[in-house]
Every structure is written in C-alpha cells, then in structure tokens.
C-alpha cells in the first residue's frame, strides 16, 4: 500500500525526479572521471572510461522513468488522448455517440437519484436498519389501540416499540394572525426515546408529558416549519400557538433531516398522543362500535379504536418473525373484547385468524413511497430499454466505423501493433464516449430531475441529491458497461482481423461482422416496436379513462376540503355552520347549488364500514364497503346520476326510516342485479329497525381515483347519520375561474377560523389523480419516439455502409444494364427485410412483456399491430436515403476512380 502511495507521489513529481536523476548521473560521471584521472588517465580518456563504467545512461533513464511513472496508466492515458483526437477528427460520429449515451445516461441518473431519494433513504436515526413496521401480509401498516401498544412494550423485550397516529391536517393560529393549515401527528411519549432521536433546540416530549388524561399541552416542531414560522429553531422554542383552537407551547425542534415517521411527507407539528381528545383529532382510525357501550371519545383509553401504527426495533441477530407472537399476545385482550360483542361469524373468524408481520422499514412506511415504487418499475424498465437500444445503436455505429477503418487497422497490425492494443483502441474510444456521456448526464440531470420529481414524486418532501457517492458510482458503472457494450463487437472483429487481408482492402471476417451489425439493427427495431406498444397502451388507457363518463360533472363543480373539528366546532354547531356556509356560497354570483359530504370525490380520503345485506338471494353477506355521508344537495352539486329510485329528500330526517342510495357496482356485487329498490342493508349482524332501505341506485362514479374499477359504495343522508362533513361541492353556472376566488373570499369572511384546502374543479382533481399516469405515458411516448428514431438511424447507417461497400458492384450492375430504380428497390427491400425481422422480434418481446405481466395492456392486438407497423415504417424511412444513394451510383466515375 505504501509502495503504491509512494509511486503515485513519484508519478505526480515525475518531472522533478527526472531532473534529479540527471543531476545525480552528472555528479556520478564527474566523480568517476576524477577517479580515473587520479589513476593517471588523461581527461578525455578518463571521461570515456567513466562513461563506460556508468553504463548506458539512456537505458538507465528509461528504467528510472518507468519506475517513477505508472506505465499501465500512462499507456491507457495515451490511448485515451488518441481516442479523443480520433473523435475530434470525426465530430459527427462523436456528437452522435456522446449525445445518445448522454441522453440514456441522463435518464438513468434521474431514475437512480429519484429511486435513491424515495426508496432507499433511511430515517435519520441511529441503527435505522433495526426499524420494522408491524404490518399485514402485504406490508401495509396495522393499526393498534394505545392499550395494545403499551402491552407490546412489555411483550417485545428485544427493542423499543414506537407508536404514532396517522398524519393529519390541523388548524394553527399564531397571535392575531389568520388561521392556517399545517400537518400534525400524535405520537406516544416514549417514541422519541425509541428512535434515539436528538433535538436541535429545546427538548422532545416524553412519557411523562403523555399521561392519559393529563397530557402536557406541548408540541414539537419540524425544523423547516420552525425556521419558516419563527426564523430559527431556537426562536420557536417556548412559543405559544393555537392548534385546533387549543393553546399549546412548542418545547423543541427536531433535527433538520427528520421529516416524519414515514421519511417522505413532512409533518409540521408533533403532539403527545394523550392530546387526541383535546385536539379533536378523529381521523385515520378503525373503530369497532357495539350496543353494549359507547366508545370512549378519548381513544387513548379505548381498546376498540385502533389508530396507532407501530415501529419496533429488531436488533441485529434477532429474528424479525419473533415480533409476530409478541404482537399477538399484546393485541389479544383487545381482540377478545371485540369478539365478545361481535355477532357475525364471518367477522369473528377473520378477527381470530388475524396475524401480523414485522416488515423491515428503515425509512418508515409511506403510501407515497409505495405508489412511487409502482411507477419506478415502469420507469426503470423504460430507461433500461432505452439504454440497451442506445448501446445496440452505438455498437452498430462503432462497428460501421471500425469496418471503415479496416485498412488503417491492417497497417497498424502490420507495423507490429499488438492485437490487444488494437482492440484496446476501440474499447478506449467507446469508454471515452461513455465518460463524456456521463458528464453530459451530470449536467442534464439538473434540468430533468425537478421535472421528474414533480411528475413522479409529487408530495414527497425529499431533497434529491445527484452528487452522492453511491449514485455517481452506479452512474460510472452504467457508463462503463455502456462503453464496453458499444465496443465489444467491433473489438471482437478487430481481434480476428488478418493484416494482409485488411491491407488488400477486403473485409475478411467482416461479412460475419456485417451480419451481426444488421442483427443489432433488427434488435433495435424490435425494442422500438415493444416500447411503441407500451407507449400506445398507456396513452390509450388514459384516453379511455378521460373519454369515459367518470360519473360526475368535471368542469362546473368547484370543490374544497375543510375540517370542522380541528377548527373547534362541535356536533351541535354543525347544522347552523353548514346553513351559514350554504347561504354564503349561494350569495356568490354564478353559484347554482352547494352540497356537503363527509369525504368527497377524488379527495384522498374515504370511509368504509362493515355492511350486512338482508334478505334472500344475497351474494355477499358481510363485507367492508365504502360509505359516504351527504346532504340533500350534494348529489346534484357534483352531478352524480341516478339510475333508479330517488335521491335523498328533505323528508329523510332523523326521525324517518333510514335510507341509502347504492352504486350499481354495489348492487351487482351484493345481489347480482341493480333491481334492488326496497332491499335493506345494516351495520349489525342481526336485522334491526336501524337498517337502511335502498331508495335509489346511482351510476357508478370514480370516487377515489380517476383510474379505478367501479366503486362498490353507498350514500347515506347526513340528517340520519350525523358526522362532520368536510367536503364542499359548489355547482356553478359560469366559468369556475370567475367564481373560485370570490367563493374562497366569501367563506373566509364568514368563517375566518375555518381553513379550506385549495379550491379545485373536479376536472382538476381528475388531472391530479392522473398526473403520474400521464407522466408515465408521456415518458413512454418520448422513449418510444426516440427508439423509433434510433431505429431509423440504425437502418440508415447499416444500409448506407452496405451501399458504400458495394459501390463497385452496383456500378458494374448499372454498367451491365440494371436500372437505378431496380437498385433502389433492392436496397429498400433490404430495409424492409430488417423492418420485418424487427417487427416480428417486437411482437415476441411484447408477448414476453405480456406473459411476464409487466405491462398487461400491451396485449391489445390493435396496439401490437400499430407498433409493428411503426417499426416496419421506421425501417423503410431509414432505408430511403441509402436506397437513393445506390440509385445515383455513376459507373463512369467509379471506373475513373479505379
């Protein structure tokens, strides 16, 4: 190691060492001369003898230089310089090589950085690899009551247990400033200690601040939020603020890199879990209701409300599967309690068979991350295809260039250049292009990354850093592989080149190489066909979604979310509040109808209840179905369509028989028909007077996502099922743009404490819901377009090279009477043959992709046929210019040049 270090040091000062050697040799020669003179020789003779004794100084200098340098590195360096010179001499070739590689590598780097930031970043806590999420079989978080989590802290003795609620919106007010929304999260007091998380200012709350029924009115702030609000973390500590109208004090600020328990979405404020009833945070929970007693509104005391996600530390050497029995033991009392009141045998069975897993979660669990993982698979597949395609194209280009230089290579080999050295030149040239492409990617990623982040990782609060050692190492690896991939076939051909045959101007084994080149072009076309099929499929699917009736009015309905509970309103306030809001909205010019619902359409929020169907011919007895509570005007405001029966009316009051309107999908699923008016559904196992009669069947609507299967859901009238309605829909008669701001202002003036989210038309919510799909489709389209373009160039380059090699033969054929059209058709036929092979190969690849289940929609035969036609067309376009050139061969000119 030391020797290597010293050699590197000497290599850096090799010029100084050379001067030192010269001085030492001069001194040595002088001393020897003096020695011989002292023995009686005359000066000239003494000098001659001294030189003889010193030996051949040129050889000495060479040996010294070799020792003072790094010969292997210098040799590669020289080859690199030569490669750069060669590339500079052919700028067109160099630009296309570097440009194409740069493009492919930019896409690769973008995906690498995105994936690294979204998927691999661990929570900034010590030994993050120990963190495991208590989850279901699919890896989704399981929810627990506080009592179960506290029991788990006893039953799991191997490491810490950390419980926290889902992040939610809270209303924050500072001093006299208007109320604003922020994100908040309830956390058990000992969770911070379990994470071993530090603090940048103040302190974190602990288990003493989180005593049930006596929780301290404190909060811990996110670093970025504290800086934005108060200027610095230190300034934030000790500040008082109103959260959901309750006074709290900020006691500490978290480290900058800690965003929240899921590692991706920033949470602004964290509160002790014991403040749940005080802050009226009642979302993200699974409640079991029963007749024996009402649930305690303080969830901390209620074992029938499951609302806490759990991270456990599993130390190294301890099997994660040991968490399962510990959780089962901890959850057993709560399950027994629920089982004792559960009448449905199906539900009892499901609850008894419930089990848990510990899923490694060094970065916490995030739904955003899961959604990204799905998109990233497609992105990675697209980018890999693009890279393979680029390499195939460049390999063909490099091969054509190497074949064109066969005479030069023959000369080199004849002059004694080693075969490895000759091959190495081709390799180094491709590697230089790879390095330049990587540099281009490092520049390009600055423009592409924000775009990609916006399209594929929207909502995630991650700082994407392209300059991480891991990412750059991977980029270097990919660039190296690409370079090698481009040069392998040319290098292989060079290794077999016979100098004498090359000097004669014949290609020798080049015919085989040419066939390989054409094979590469066919592979390119096949990949292009596959990518085109994927792009068409994605685009077609989005078109289908957009052209379908989504079941609601998109253009003239403005919607917004708000939270009445966090604004401090109680159940008694609700009727008057909604009446005030409704009359305020109706006073705005252009507003036609105003409706409220509990969760809303495309709002990222939903409610579900276990529902029992009554009567004969029931296909599904009990299942969890999506439920929505609406006021009487809501269906009309959002434009839901009625198929049978009626909507809710003013007569559906608290005292009248309970009613429901079900979706067609729900009716079909439960009864196998939509003729369900008069049928009954209920929440209990046994039929009761509380059951709802179905009075209407509505058309299916995409309530949760623009791209989803038909939703099995039903609506309930708000007067019969009192609940906070947190979604307002306003039907307008004119351009929503003109009404939007006035509406927001009107609500602000009448209810300043109520914070509304952004006002969006349902069409805008559809767009947002399809954003990632559209981005994927667009990207697939761009990649497919590039692939087809590369296919055109590939075919063009390959045939042009062939025409150049066959110039003499073509000239002779013209001289013998062949017409230019005939020759042109011959070359075009070659192109068509390549196109045919490419299209067939593409069909095979599509079949593989389909069977592999990666992109199932690529199976549509029309899409496949169009994609194959595109590949074939690309080959014909690519063949056109070489075909024209073949037709223009002048036999007289050719004979003259001979």
């Amino acid at each position: 190691m030391m020797t290597l270090f010293n050699r590197l040091r000497d290599w850096r000062r090799r010029r100084a060492l050379r001067a030192r050697l010269d001085e030492e040799l001069a001194f040595h020669l002088e001393e020897l001369t003096r020695e011989f003179e002292a023995k009686g020789h005359a000066k000239p003779a003494a000098q001659r003898l001294a030189r003889i004794k010193l030996g051949n100084t040129t050889l000495v200098q060479e040996a010294h230089r070799e020792r003072a340098g790094l010969p292997v590195v210098e040799e590669w360096w020289r080859d690199g310089v030569l490669a750069v010179r060669n590339l500079r001499r052919r700028p067109g070739y160099a630009v296309s090589m570097i440009g194409m590689l740069g493009l492919g590598l930019t896409a690769t780097l973008t995906i690498l950085v995105l994936t690294e930031g979204m998927m691999r970043e661990a929570l900034p806590v010590p030994r993050a690899h120990e963190l495991h999420l208590v989850s279901d079989r699919e890896g989704n978080p399981s929810w627990f009551s506080r009592l179960s989590v506290e029991r788990l802290q006893t039953t799991w003795s191997e490491g810490a247990v950390m419980g926290y609620g889902g992040d939610t919106r809270v209303t924050v007010q500072r001093g006299g400033q208007p109320a604003r929304r922020a994100s908040g999260q309830l956390v058990l007091g000992n969770a911070w200690a379990g994470l071993e998380l530090g603090v940048v200012a103040g302190r974190l709350f602990n288990r003493f601040d989180d005593e049930i029924g006596a929780g301290a009115s404190v909060a811990v702030a996110n670093h970025a939020w504290a800086v934005a609000e108060y200027g610095s973390p230190e300034a934030a500590v000790g500040q008082e603020l109103l959260v959901n109208r309750q006074p709290l004090q900020i006691i500490g600020v978290l480290p900058e890199r800690f965003r929240g328990f899921d590692g991706l979405n920033r949470v602004d404020l964290f509160f002790p879990a014991s403040l749940q009833p005080l802050l009226a945070i009642n979302s993200n929970a699974n409640e079991f209701g029963s007749d024996d007693r009402p649930n305690d509104p303080d969830w901390n005391r209620e074992s029938r409300v499951r609302w806490l996600e759990v991270l456990v530390r599993v130390p190294k050497g301890v099997a994660a599967k040991r968490v399962t029995p510990a959780v089962a033991e901890a959850a057993a009392p709560a399950i027994q309690d629920v089982l004792s009141e559960m009448r449905s045998p199906y539900e009892r069975e499901a609850l008894r068979n419930r089990t848990w897993w510990a899923t490694a979660a060094p970065g916490g669990f995030s739904h955003t991350r899961n959604a990204f993982a799905e998109a990233s698979r497609l992105l990675t597949a697209l980018v890999l295809s693009l890279l393979v395609l680029t390499c195939a194209n460049l390999s063909g280009l490099t091969l054509a260039r190497t074949l064109a230089r066969h005479r030069e290579m023959g000369v080199r080999l004849s002059l004694g250049a080693g075969r490895w050295r000759t091959c190495r030149l081709a390799l180094v040239e491709a590697l230089v292009c790879g390095v330049a492409g990587a540099l281009l990617a490092m520049v390009g990623v600055h423009w592409i990354l924000p775009l990609a982040q916006n399209q594929f990782a929207a909502g995630a609060d991650v700082t994407l850093a392209p300059w991480q050692a891991v990412t750059l190492t991977k980029l270097a690896g990919v660039a190296l592989l690409c370079g090698l991939g481009c040069a392998l076939i040319p290098a292989w051909w060079l290794s077999r080149l016979q100098p004498l045959i090359a000097l004669k101007g014949s290609l020798g084994g080049g015919q085989f190489a040419l066939r390989m080149g054409r094979g590469l072009v066919a592979v390119q076309l096949a990949l292009a066909v596959m990518l085109a099929a994927v792009a068409f499929s994605l685009g077609r699917e989005i078109d289908q979604v957009l052209s379908q009736d989504l079941g609601f009015e998109q253009d003239t309905t403005l919607t917004a979310r708000f939270d009445v509970r966090t604004a401090g309103y109680t159940e008694e306030d609700f009727p008057s509040l909604y009446a005030r809001l409704k009359s305020t909205a109706e006073s705005v010019v252009g507003v036609e109808r105003v409706g409220f619902s509990a969760t809303g359409i495309l709002s990222n929020s939903r409610m579900a209840s276990t529902t029992f169907a009554r009567g004969e011919g029931v296909g599904v007895t009990a299942e969890s179905f999506q439920t929505e509570i609406v006021d009487v005007d809501y269906p009309g405001a959002v434009g839901l369509k009625l198929e049978r029966g009626r909507w809710f009316s003013e007569t559906d009051t608290e005292d009248s028989p309970r009613v429901a309107v079900v979706s067609q999908a729900f009716a079909r699923r439960v009864w196998g028909t939509t003729e369900v008016l008069g049928n009954r559904i209920g929440f209990g196992f046994e039929p009761s007077d509380e059951d709802m009669e179905i009075v209407g069947v509505m058309s299916d609507a995409r309530l949760n996502r623009a791209r989803e299967d038909q939703v099995e859901a039903y609506l309930l009238p708000a007067p019969q099922f009192p609940a906070p309605l947190s979604y307002v829909a306003v039907r307008v008669s004119r351009d929503p743009e003109a009404v939007r701001e006035r509406l927001a202002e009107a609500f602000r003036s009448v209810e300043p404490g109520l914070v509304f989210g952004s006002w969006q038309t349902l069409g805008e919510r559809v767009d947002a819901s399809l954003r990632r799909d559209k981005a994927s489709s667009r990207l697939a389209g761009v990649v497919a377009g590039l692939a087809l373009l590369l296919g055109v160039f590939g075919v063009g380059g390959s045939l042009a090279h062939l025409v150049a090699l066959r110039q003499r033969e073509l000239a002779v054929r013209i001289a013998l009477g062949a017409t230019p059209d005939h020759l042109q058709w011959g070359v075009l036929k070659d192109g068509a043959r390549l196109g045919g092979w490419g299209a067939l190969g593409g069909a095979v690849l599509i079949g593989g992709v389909f069977l592999g289940g990666w992109v199932p929609m690529a199976s549509n035969p029309i899409v496949v046929a169009i994609a194959m036609a595109c590949g074939f067309g690309a080959a014909l376009v690519g063949g056109w210019i070489p075909a024209r050139r073949a037709a223009k061969v002048d036999p007289i000119e050719m004979l003259k040049s001979d």
Binding site: M2, L21, F27, E31
Partner: protein, 119 residues
C-alpha cells in the same frame, strides 16, 4: 581493459541486498559512494554497471526501505544522499537471511561429489 577482466557480474536480485548492507554499514551515502563502496568491499571482484543503481535506489525508496535528501559531497558538490530507514533495517535482516539460505543450498549442491560421468 584489464580493469573489467575476471570480474563477477552482480547477480540478479542481489543489488537490493548490497545497497541495503552498504548503507547499514556506512550511514548516509550518495549513489557514487554506494557503487564505490560495493566494489571496494568486494575487493573489486564485483563488476557493477553503476547506472543501474539509480532505478534500484528509487525502487528501494518507494518501498520505504531507504530515504534520501540533498547534501554536499566531500568535493563540495550538491549530491543526493541515501540512508537506511528503520523499515529498511528490518528488510536487510530478511534479505541477509534469505541470501544465506540460498548460498548454503547452492554450496551444498556444489559440494556433493560427482557419482559418475556422462555416458
């Protein structure tokens, strides 16, 4: 011409040992001094192509066995002086031991009486 007659070429691989040993005995020496000393100690029996000393000195320096610095020779000329490092002293022990085992083995083979001539 008589100066080089009957002299022995330095065996390949032994130059390091000779240089290390010379420096161990003489302390700090320049290249000419090392070459001169080797020839003197060997009774002028070893013929050293003196230029080859310099790449060897650089190699030993890179291995950390010797170190060098500029100094002034007895003739008041600037010269590069080499000296043994602690690591070099340890290496010398290894080299000497190896040489002794090697020469003993060669001597043993030579000393064995011939048992018959070629047929």
């Amino acid at each position: 011409m008589s100066e080089t007659e009957d002299r022995l070429e330095v065996l390949q691989g032994t130059l390091d040992l000779l240089v290390l040993k010379t420096l161990a005995g003489m302390g700090s020496l320049h290249g000419y001094g090392i070459a001169r000393r080797i020839e003197q100690v060997s009774g002028d029996l070893l013929a050293l192509n003196q230029g080859t000393l310099y790449p060897a000195l650089l190699r030993l320096e890179q291995q950390g066995w010797i170190s060098s610095d500029w100094g002034v020779s007895e003739n008041n000329r600037r010269a590069r002086f080499y000296k043994l490092t602690r690591k070099g002293a340890k290496r010398l022990t290894v080299e000497v031991d190896r040489w002794q085992r090697m020469s003993a083995a060669v001597n043993a083979i030579i000393a064995e009486p011939s048992r018959g001539g070629a047929r």
